[in-house]
Subunit: 253 residues, 2 copies
C-alpha cells in the first residue's frame, strides 16, 4: 500500500537518512508540540504562493509541517475554513491610508490598486475568496474603510452597501481570472507573464483570423485591437469605468 509508505515518510525530516530500526527512536527530545492554526495557515499560504492553488491539499500542508493530514483537523474545521483563513491573512497585507472623504475618488482608486497588488502577489488566494462573505477581521477592516469613505463622502448608506459589494466583486473576480491564467501559464511550463501573454494572445489572434468574415465581421476586422491590452490595462479600464460611474452618483454631481 503506497499510503503506508507515505505515512512513514513522516519519521524522517527533509534531508536525512532513515532512522536505523534498532534505534528505538524514543521520540525526539521535545519537538512537535507546536502545530497551531497560524502555522497551518502560513504553511498553506507558502504552498499557494510557491506551487499554486491546485497543489494546495491538506496532505501537502501536513507534509510541509512534518505530520499527517489528520492532525490538521484539530486546528481547522476543513479545507474551506483553511482557505478562508488564508484569504483573511492575505487581506492583512493591505495598507490603508487615513480616510479623507474630500479625496474619495483618489483614495478609492488607490485602495483598489492596493487590493489588486496584494491579491496579485499571492496569486491564487482569490480562488478561495469569491464566496466567502466578509467575516474575517481583515475583511471587516477593509470593508469599514471603503464603506466609511463612501458614507463620509455623502453617499446614501443603502447605495454605499451596493457599491461596496460590487467593488469587491470586481476586485476578486479580476484576481480570480488572473489566477486561472497563472495556472495555465504554470501548466505550460512558462514563468514570464509577458511571454505568456504574447503567446496566448497570438494564439487567439490566429484563431480569430480563421473566422468567416461573413458571420463575424466586427470581430474579424479588429483582431489586433481585441488582443492588444493585457490584464493590467483591462483592470485599469474597468476600474476607471466604475469610478466614473460612481462620481456621477455622488452628491456633488
Amino acid at each position: 500500500m503506497s499510503s503506508t509508505v507515505f505515512g512513514m515518510d513522516r519519521t524522517r525530516t527533509t534531508d536525512d537518512v532513515p532512522v536505523p530500526p534498532w534505534r528505538k527512536s524514543r521520540r525526539q527530545p521535545q519537538p512537535k508540540r507546536q502545530l497551531s492554526q497560524d502555522l497551518i495557515v502560513e504553511a498553506g499560504l507558502g504552498i499557494l504562493d510557491a506551487e499554486g492553488f491546485d497543489a494546495l491539499s491538506m496532505r501537502r500542508v501536513a507534509q510541509e509541517l512534518d505530520t499527517g493530514p489528520a492532525s490538521l483537523y484539530a486546528h481547522v474545521a476543513n479545507k474551506e475554513e483553511l482557505l478562508e483563513l488564508i484569504y483573511d491573512r492575505v487581506l492583512g497585507e493591505i495598507r490603508l491610508p487615513e480616510r479623507d472623504p474630500a479625496r474619495w475618488k483618489e483614495q478609492l482608486r488607490a485602495y483598489c490598486l492596493e487590493v489588486h497588488r496584494v491579491l496579485g502577489s499571492h496569486s491564487d488566494v482569490a480562488r478561495a475568496a469569491l464566496a466567502s462573505i466578509p467575516t474575517g477581521p481583515n475583511s471587516l477592516r477593509t470593508g469599514e474603510f471603503v464603506y466609511g469613505l463612501l458614507i463620509e463622502a455623502g453617499m446614501d448608506p443603502r447605495e454605499a452597501s451596493l457599491v461596496l459589494d460590487r467593488l469587491s466583486l470586481y476586485l476578486i473576480g479580476d484576481a480570480y481570472e488572473g489566477s486561472l491564467h497563472r495556472a495555465r501559464m504554470r501548466a505550460a511550463g512558462m514563468s514570464d507573464p509577458q511571454e505568456y501573454f504574447e503567446r496566448f494572445s497570438g494564439q487567439i489572434a490566429t484563431y480569430y483570423r480563421a473566422l468567416p468574415a461573413s458571420t463575424f465581421p466586427h470581430l474579424r476586422r479588429h483582431i489586433d485591437e481585441l488582443v492588444a491590452d493585457d490584464g493590467e490595462n483591462r483592470f485599469m479600464y474597468g476600474l476607471e469605468l466604475l469610478l466614473d460611474g460612481l462620481e456621477q452618483r455622488m452628491p456633488g454631481a
Copy 2:
C-alpha cells in the same frame, strides 16, 4: 473492491434484475452504438442543473449514460473540455435581437439581462466559464453582437475590446458568485432562494451587530442597509453603474 461492483452495474439497466449468470448475455440486440459528444454534453448539463457543480464528475456522467468513465474520453478530451462544451451549449440559449446602434444602451442592458437569466437558470455553468476564452461558436456569436453594437454606436475599437472584456467579467463573475450561494443553499438542504437569502442575511446581520462599534463605526451603524438588497438588486445596480460609465464614453457625450 467496490469499483468492480460499480462497474458491473453497467450490465443492468435502471430497474431490472441482474442477468442470470448462465444466460450468456450475448449483448443486447443492437443498443449502445450511440454515445456521441452531444449526448455527453447533454447528460452533463442535466447533472449540473439537477445536482449542482460538485456532483458533476466524469463517473457520474458515465453512469447517466449507462457506461464506464473511460468511454467518455473517446468523445471529449478531458473534464475541462467537457465543461467548456457545456458552457457553450448554454450560451446557445441566449437570444439576440437585431442590432440597433441608436438604442445601444437599451440593447446592451437587455443583452446583459438575458445572459444573467440564462446563466442563472443553469445555475452552476458559470463555474466553468471564467477562464475559458471566447472560443466556442456561441461565445463568438454573443461576442460579435456586443462588439458590433459598440462599434456601430461609434466607439473606438480598442476601447470596445476592453468593454467587451469587462462586461463579460461582470456577467460571469456575478453568475459565479450566485452559483456558490446556490451550492451553500443546497448544502443547507434548502430549496427556496428567498428563504435562503433571508436566513443568510439574518446571520450576517446578527454577526455584524456583535461588532465593536469603536473599530467599525460605519458598518455597525448601517447593518440593515448592508444586508437589504438581494443578488438581483445588486446585479442591477452594478449593471446600471457600468452602463452609465459607458454612456459618458460614447461619442455623443
